[in-house]
Amino acid sequence: MIKITWRHDGVTRRGFLGATATVGAGIVAAPYIVRQAWAATPIRIGVISPLTGAWTVYGKAHFAGFELAVDEINKAGGVLGRPIEIVVGDSKTEPRIVVEQANRLIRQERVDLLAGTFSSAERNAAGPVVQQSGKILLYPTWYEGQSQEFFPGVCNKNIFMFGPEPSQQVWPHVEHVMKSHGKRFFLIGSDYAWPRETNKMFKEKFQELGGEVVGEVYIPFNTPQYESVLRDIRNAKTEVVFHTLTGSDTVNFRRQFHAAGMSKDIAIWTVDDEEVVTSGLGPEVSAGTYVSFDYFMTIQHPNNKIFLEKFFAKYGKDALMNTVGVGMYNAAHMAALAIAKAGSTDTAKVRDALKDLTFDGAPQGPVRMRGEDHQAVLPSYLMQVRQGWTGVSDMFEEVRSLQTVEPVPAKCKALPL
């Protein structure tokens, strides 16, 4: 038996030995030639954002958060005397493209680490890439929490989670919503892992508190009409709709829910509709809805005031920020802090430096990266959408908040990661 082990030649640099060999290769390789040299070698960070495709609506805040932080860091002299340079990759809202882009950023653009991807599917697509290449991925989105089943998309020592998971986003507020509106909850979500896992976690807490799930439906993506679901909600004598639809479906459902006259006597609690979606709903449809996240543009923390001033100055006064953009913002700052602490961009050193690192300047108040499972410890806000709001500055009204919520431990095979 012969055993051949091929050399791993993906990540060494030899430059170009010849002219373009084929059109295809030439096209892929061209940006590599035209890239200009920098005075002080910058630290390169690859950012994968949904700039085109179904979730374009979230892309702007997603990218802006990171860009703003990098601006601040560079103005303050960079990290280790080096500026940070962003290399953008468009995910096209497609896991297939994330595989291409993550590899491009790492192998061709030689980035030192990656940040971004938006949905869990996109993050999972990047999982094997960072696993194999030994680069770090900073993930900003609220998500379903880590469970070994989706390794290497989660429970991966190279991935850090900056967004909240259900035990932070949902659990702290279950009792309050029940007390205010009743115990008959109807669960509606998009048909994939995040809504299903979030609902599973929700029910754990909810049933312990004596609540009754009167219906649970999962809707395929891109469903334009909701008559039958609305009928079920009404017939079940629902008191609260717990809502985990995403993207344009959430807007479609909510508009039709309101048009059917149901928002008068049924409360909605959503864990999806941040600033971008709520502004898409408009004041009439969204008024009175409960929303819970780690960050809102209207939170009162002094850090947020400073943050928003800089944000509006750069992107205009109508620009939208949200939990994901702030996740990206925190990710950039914490990566910079970690690189400074580690004294290099070496993955193992940065990883160790990120563990249990606290960022005091986070817009939602100090944020800590829990070392054992790479999950951010975040605040949790329950907000209610104000009647007749006119813009993001008066969109949400605080109902209650917790400054730090320690998430449940990740369900990974081996902790610490």
């Binding site: 091929w6 290769a25 291409e100």
Partner: protein, 335 residues
Amino acid sequence: MNATALPAAVMPAGHRLGAWAPAVVVFLALALLPVVFEGYVVYILPQYMLFGVMAMSLALLWGQTGILSFGQAGFFAIGGYAIGIGMSHELPINPAYIGILTGILVCAVTAALIGYFLFSAGVRDSYFVLVTLALSIMVEQIAVSQSELTGGWNGMFIMRPILTAPGLELPLDGDVSIYYVVLVVAAAVYAGLRALTTARFGKILVGIRENETRMEALGYRTVLYKTAAFALSAGIAGLAGALYGTHAGFVSPSLGGALFSTEAVVWVAVAGRSSLLAAFLGGVIVSSLSNYLSALTPGLWQLFMGLLFIAAITLFRGGIAGFLGRLPARRRAMP
């Protein structure tokens, strides 16, 4: 009945799938590429070559037989999931081989059943386009809903396989090793399809494309030939998908969706549906171009792709290959 009995219209000069020389040049260039380049190009080209293989499967169906399918991505995805599911099991034989074979078989059998079911009732043209579109959407939905098996919308991870043969064990986790495996498969698919299209079977398919009624009148059971072409094309798309799954390490339902299906049609349309090599290059080059433009202007690249695409359709009827193929003919026509 033999090939000589085929009507003359079946073999118009401009529609011969080209001589061997350009193909030899292309595949040799691709074979030399990893010697010259390193890094991302070597990593990514196998994925694009597999898109090229999927494009060839469509060219067989569309260019050769005149049946346009929007279902190729569905079969591609089935292939990807088949190898993923296969490799997550302990099997007596190399699970990657079982996965690939299962993928090909599932695709071919599905296509044969659906193809026969529809062709026998005379479903064709835009109706068939719609049916295949529905097919790829159904694959996407099933992949989403059968999450126990497929990981649902969050996708499924696939390891790189180990190439085994008596006396050989080659793990395909290096860029170069899997590059050559994919290249060999692509070249083999090209050679096989080319041989097939120039053989009697291929000529009958062209005959069906040009005039199906006439072929029926000549005694050919066109339904069977069309079904065979569809099944073969689906099997090849499944093979490409299986290799893609192991190369990318990850598959998710959108791989089977309508958007990716349309992309495959775009590759073939731009490059030229009448030539297998053009279709292959279309898959490789259009994907490379997308990648390049998206790096250059992440916000505007889709706009440029759309404009380029419209320009290609408007300026070169029958794709770029069709346009090039007509050039010598025009020159000859001049006195």
